[in-house]
Symmetry: C2
Subunit: 306 residues, 2 copies
């Protein structure tokens, strides 16, 4: 079943120990939809500026991603500039230009309205909520957020959380949102805010799925490992790619069984691990489904007991 | 088969967000031998002072741990005082008194000489090497170390590494030892220093086993998860308990197959997770083998795909 995703399409300028790239195609919706497109049909809602051309459009087209909901506005694309020179696990932001995103009013094409899966990528919670309310009949809604919204836009974010089935965030964000350093207690508190399930991403250590806190943590917790990688070229988009693999796999399944969720966690980890192998979206653009499945099997083997 | 372990037996004074304990029984050899005793016979080489009495002796006796190699010396036991108030993942040391450990000369009882497994817990590498050389015929030697020795006693430590089959350290120590921030490359460099295998402990995220770097990282890497815990009362001894579970399980196996190593990683994770549930060795003292196996199954389930 198809996924509609709302989020940013952007240009990123990135510096890592492996080098530097200026103005490569990025944004949460871009990484998410590329990763999810290996599993199901994806439709994007975003806004771009006049500097978004046929070359960028072709990146989506090559993966059959529906961009009819990507609005062209006067002005420039959202821009982000950051580095990971000290620590590959945390970006240092040097500059953010909202540009066309400053006045973004998401519009949902009629052709998107039969999407059963909705992903609210990391953007202003006011926009997330608007899209959520415009698509009340979806089967499953997941979303992401970040410390900026948790810290400074909490009331709007809490409204979004009430409408989510699954929230995907990282360790620090989960602890910040719940104001509790212990991850299990934090997960329980976050699920009390609305989401039925919480995926906490641990970067190079994988991710944990928490769900149904009421009857014991052990039986309702699942941990997917990440493959230790010899070289992380660019961590940008790893979390969005995880979300795309996770949610894309779920959307491809006939039934949302606990086993489907477990496999989705592994596919999320797999897509995150590919994303970081090259700058920007380069690796996801070159990827094949066969490579995805081969790595899924390698991840399974990585932590499998007979 | 039996394990001989050399390391510290100490008194720890510990403060964590859960409270404070003064002078509880601790030390790497204590945690290691308690954890390993659930799997095999354990023999300890250490030194204690006149303040080590029948009550402490009984902790070892209750688990049938052989303490004939624990020398009684004039003076006081090794003492450590530390806290985990800011960060449960990293101890802040307030005070260390070597006391009887300052002049420790390990002596190996004749009755220990048929041990096939030797564990060199975290002590001065000069002492580790002496014990290693006094037991040249053991089947498998593993060891631990810490940043203090990596940073300030590198030549002596490098000598020890040459005589190890398996080194168990944490993330930061592996990166420091190899002077490489990337864990996969660091692991490869550390294995170049002697050990055939390296276990890197990730605290709450589990641990990774690296081995045989020559033919591809994927096929030679194994990751055991840790169970997310609702409450970590006292992290002291988690790493030593991991080592005890890991090495104890290996010593109990008829053959050291790759599958035995994988299960050993899970048992290490299990023993580490119990250790942190109460202050000091309290939880390990109360533990049953049935509880160990139940948690092993829960850990397996935590990350298992059908």
């Amino acid at each position: 079943m198809s996924i509609t995703v709302v989020g940013s399409v952007a240009y990123d300028s990135i510096e890592t120990p492996s080098g530097r790239r200026d103005r490569c195609l990025g944004g949460a919706a871009t990484y998410f939809s590329l990763a999810a497109s290996f599993f199901t049909d994806v439709r994007v809602i975003a806004v771009v500026g006049e500097d978004f051309g046929p070359e960028q459009e072709a990146v989506f087209g090559a993966r059959n991603i529906d961009t009819r909901g990507v609005e062209r506005a006067a002005g420039k694309c959202f821009c982000w500039e950051g580095s990971y020179l000290e620590n590959l696990n945390e970006a240092r932001t040097h500059n953010t230009e909202l540009n066309v995103f400053a006045a973004f009013e998401p519009k949902i094409p009629v052709a998107y309205r039969d999407s059963q899966f909705l992903f609210l990528a990391n953007i202003d919670p006011v926009l997330q909520r608007r899209v959520r309310e415009a698509m009340p009949d979806v089967k499953l809604v997941a979303g992401d957020t970040m410390n900026y919204w948790i810290d400074g836009h909490r009331p709007a974010l809490l409204q979004v959380l009430k409408g989510l089935d699954i929230l995907l965030i990282n360790d620090g964000e989960a602890r910040m949102l719940a104001n509790d350093k212990n991850l299990v207690r934090a997960a329980s508190a976050v699920m009390g805010m609305g989401p039925r399930a919480l995926v906490v991403k641990h970067g190079e250590y994988g991710a944990t799925l928490f769900s149904g806190a009421s009857d014991g943590a052990a039986s309702k917790t699942f941990r997917a490992p990440a493959m230790p990688l010899e070289e992380v070229v660019d961590p940008t988009g790893a979390g969005d790619s995880f979300a795309g693999g996770f949610f894309g796999y779920l959307a491809s399944q006939p039934q949302l069984t606990p086993e489907a969720f477990r496999r989705a966690m592994f596919y999320g980890s797999v897509m995150g691990s590919f994303a970081v192998e090259r700058f920007g979206t380069e690796r996801l653009q070159l990827l094949s489904r066969q490579e995805v499945d081969n790595r899924f099997n390698a991840f399974r083997e990585l932590t499998h007991l007979d």
